[in-house]
């Protein structure tokens, strides 16, 4: 894979329409549908483009898969659907499919002159939502919008279901949740979420034809948080609501989490099914792509689900790896549609295998309590089991292993505490929870290590020790600020899996960190939400941590994992290239914040005191940063991720990571521009 392929390598990326708005005009739907076409055959590409334009779609064409990926990463919310050829010189179409599914959770249509049953079947198993035989006719293209709508509907349905389930659960389980969040917190979250949702998706929700929920980009950090939360809860007990609370990411909705969870479980299943190989490779993912993390998680979950034995460590590793890995090949294939099928839990071959298994078996929490998923209940249960186990293990690992990314999680809590004040009240309540999550890892220094651990995985794949940056992004603005090292560093920026959310990575200056991260760091979960509201879809980039809308902010950060750790959140992330901090590996250990300093820093610093301003700044910054920083894998997960998406992404990634095999080819993940 050509790592250097970045924007520059997009030799023929032409956009027929300038606007990459997040949503198409609902009135004229499907007109304005934003399609990305990937095909190395220039003749076909041109014909397709013309045909699509005749359907009044907005077409962007790309003749290289890697270029397409980076384009997608840069514009998290920039596309509605992807059409890709199967046979391409630089990357197998199915691999691309997996990537997209994991990272961006967009519907992907495969096409080929090959109409053999095997190939078509491959498309199905890898999650393609359709398969077109060349020569493609206009009639076939006219109806591709149905896949977009269908996906949105499914996502929405999941969220709705989770939502209602959660709502119902909320009260009865108030006491249970006490540990995790205060009622104020929840209500805040709910209201902010509602606010956000209303703002962003008001119409979309109701209008199924224009279902356009902002996608959450599950950056590496965000994903790590997610995994940590799942671990903590136990794969069986990890319900989106609780996970959400644990993660405490402003702007993140339960739907996001539920969807992500689903994918994660799929990923785990896939892992178990696929791997017999205990690949530690994912541990040191060379791929920078943050996507891997999500895939990792997904894989882990899957494997766990399947095997129920995924040791926490492996999960963590996977996650870290996932983060680092760009291409979760096998895992990626986990299409949402196949989720059901995926839950045929066979013996999970824990890739992580090494001894972590025992950990997993310990946890039998039900990961998906009340989470409506496509899976059948028993499948779900299985998933939970394994997921819980694995997750649980993951958590366990956290304390111990610095590398596994858990540190990130751990860091968060810690940071959050000090930051509590800084954060809006919404956040604060949540933050404390974090510490529980991580518990052990030492936020400060340790975190950095931990971050490294996690990030490191990602970064390792990346190569350069971006540690600082990456990590921070992972943590999503957790208050972790405390330890500068934390978060930020570990994550290899190169891949910046999506530092997204707020990876407060705390390490940077405590204050700053919290605020940073797209959502201004940690403290401003609320702020972030607000920001999100404000800029619901401005960005094109979605912040993984936040719900679709808000996530935009966050994501920018993610993506820029390169950005200085922690603080990078805003600064760093958003633009690795921009801030320059991004590349600042040296950030690790240093106050990330300062490192990240580049232009953004100033903002953040100031912002520290005011979260809002900070957030504002950061968001702004992020925005700018993110956009340009297409190459840095900015967000691990594109905005579009609904919960399902996330899960599948996770799963896919996990699979990829876990598998570590050729199939997943994590190494290949570095397709994205993430510098290794």
């Amino acid at each position: 894979m050509n790592l250097t392929n970045g924007k520059g390598s997009i030799s023929t990326v032409t956009t027929t329409t300038v606007s990459m708005k997040s949503g198409e005009g609902s009135d004229q739907f499907p007109a304005g549908l934003r399609v990305l076409v990937v095909d190395d055959d220039p003749t076909c590409l041109k014909i397709l483009e013309k045909m699509l334009r005749s359907c009044y779609y907005e077409v962007t064409q790309c003749n290289r898969a890697e270029a397409a990926l980076s384009l997608l990463r840069e514009n998290k919310n920039g596309f509605d659907i992807v059409i890709s050829d199967v046979h391409m010189p630089d990357m197998d179409g199915f691999k691309l499919l997996e990537h997209i599914g994991l990272e961006m959770d967009l519907p992907v249509i495969m096409m080929s002159a090959d109409d053999g049953k095997n190939v078509v079947m491959k498309g199905v198993t890898h999650g393609a939502c359709d398969y077109l035989i060349k020569p493609v006719r206009m009639e076939a293209l006219k109806n591709i919008w149905q896949h977009v709508v269908r996906k949105k509907k499914n996502d929405w349905k999941d969220s709705e279901q989770s939502g209602s389930a959660d709502e119902g659960d909320r009260h009865p389980k108030a006491s249970d949740d006490a540990d995790y969040s205060s009622s104020a917190n929840e209500s805040n979250w709910r209201s902010s979420r509602k606010r956000r949702d209303d703002e962003e998706d008001g119409d979309d929700r109701d209008d199924s034809s224009t279902l356009k929920k902002p996608r959450v980009v599950w950056s590496v950090e965000l994903h790590q948080q997610f995994v940590a939360a799942v671990d903590q809860l136990g794969i069986d007990k990890a319900v989106p609501k609780k996970i959400l609370e644990l993660m405490n990411v402003p702007g993140l909705t339960r739907e996001n989490v539920a969807s992500h969870l689903q994918k994660y479980r799929l990923y785990l299943r896939r892992l178990s099914g696929v791997s017999q190989h205990q690949n530690n490779s994912f541990l040191s993912p060379q791929e920078a792509s943050f996507g891997t993390i999500s895939s990792m998680n997904g894989l882990d979950l899957q494997t766990l689900a399947a095997a129920g034995q995924l040791p926490a460590q492996s999960l963590a590793t996977l996650q870290a790896a996932g983060l680092g890995r760009s291409a979760v090949k096998s895992g990626l294939a986990m299409p949402l549609m196949d989720q059901r099928n995926l839950f045929s839990f066979e013996n999970p071959r824990l890739r992580f295998g090494e001894g972590q298994q025992q950990l997993l078996s310990n946890n039998k929490t039900n990961l998906l309590h009340g989470v409506p998923t496509n899976m059948e209940p028993k499948q779900l249960a299985n998933l939970h089991q394994s997921a819980a186990q694995s997750l649980g293990n993951l958590n366990m690992r956290v304390p111990g292993s610095s590398t596994q990314g858990n540190p990130l999680l751990m860091q968060m809590p810690q940071q959050s505490q000090p930051r509590g004040q800084m954060l809006s009240e919404n956040i604060s309540p949540r933050i404390p929870r974090l510490p529980n999550l991580l518990g052990q890892s030492t936020v400060s220094n340790g975190i950095s290590d931990g971050l490294l651990g996690r990030n490191g995985i990602a970064s390792s794949s990346r190569g350069p020790s971006f540690n600082s940056v990456q990590q921070s992004s992972m943590f999503f603005n957790s208050p972790m600020n405390q330890s500068t090292e934390m978060s930020v560093t570990n994550f290899p920026l190169g891949s910046t899996p999506g530092i997204s959310s707020i990876t407060t990575k705390g390490t940077f200056q405590p204050e700053v960190n919290s605020g940073i991260k797209g959502s201004a760091g940690f403290p401003s979960y609320d702020i972030f939400n607000e920001l999100n509201h404000q800029k619901p879809r401005d960005w094109g980039m979605t912040n993984p941590g936040l719900t679709y809308d808000s996530s935009q902010h966050a994501n920018p950060l993610h993506g820029n994992i390169d950005v200085s750790p922690s603080v990078l959140v805003h600064q760093g992330y958003s633009s690795t290239p921009q801030n320059g901090h991004n590349r600042d590996n040296s950030l690790i250990g240093k106050s990330p914040f300062s490192l990240g300093e580049s232009s953004e820093q100033g903002h953040f610093q100031n912002g520290v005191q005011n979260f809002n301003p900070l957030v504002e700044n950061s968001t702004r910054v992020i925005k700018s940063e993110i956009v340009p920083d297409a190459s840095s894998q900015t967000s691990l997960f594109p905005d579009h991720y609904g919960q399902e998406d996330l899960m599948s992404v996770l799963l896919k990634q996990q699979e990829g990571i876990v598998q570590g095999e050729n199939e997943f080819d994590f190494d290949g993940y570095s397709l994205d521009n993430i510098p290794v």
């Binding site: 055959d41 220039p42 003749t43 014909i47 013309k50 046979h87 002159a113 020569p135 006719r137 206009m138």
Partner: protein
């Protein structure tokens, strides 16, 4: 020749290409895509196809001349050629490619070389015809006429 005559000539020519299976319905799709916003669409696409094909044929020849032939690579090339020719509607070329791929699977080097010759032949014939057709189109347009809209079943 007046425009009317040119148009008729064009129609006859394209009809024969269909009947002789040099072209198939896909070419009509291309024609339908051409409109006032893209008056040169067919010409552009066909030109692209020509350029790309020359490249593929060159690669194919090179690959088959090797001491030890990499059939995977050959197959990949043929597959791509099949795709692009199918997209253009060059039916003859496409069919030749299909046969070619079968022999690639069998790793039959002699048959493959023969297939390559066949594919080349088909390609050059259809290229010739398309160029003639396009030239006719240009003349029609230059004379102020419009290209007839063809539909299958004529």
């Amino acid at each position: 020749m007046d425009v009317g005559q040119m148009r008729r000539q064009w129609m006859d020519y394209i009809k024969s290409m269909f009947e002789e299976r040099f072209l198939d319905g896909q070419f009509l799709q291309l024609q339908q895509l051409q409109d006032e916003n893209n008056p040169e669409f067919v010409f552009e696409v066909v030109s692209l196809f020509f350029d790309d094909s020359e490249r593929i044929l060159k690669d194919l020849s090179f690959a088959l001349e090797q001491q030890s032939v990499d059939f995977k690579k050959v197959d990949a090339h043929v597959h791509q050629f099949k795709g692009s020719s199918a997209s253009i509607g060059a039916q003859g070329v496409k069919n030749a490619c299909i046969a070619f791929r079968n022999f690639c699977e069998e790793q039959n080097i002699d048959a493959c070389r023969r297939c390559l010759l066949q594919v080349k032949q088909e390609y050059f014939v259809v290229k010739n015809k398309l160029e003639t057709l396009l030239r006719l189109e240009q003349q029609i347009v230059a004379a102020g006429g419009s290209i007839p809209i063809m539909e299958l079943g004529f």
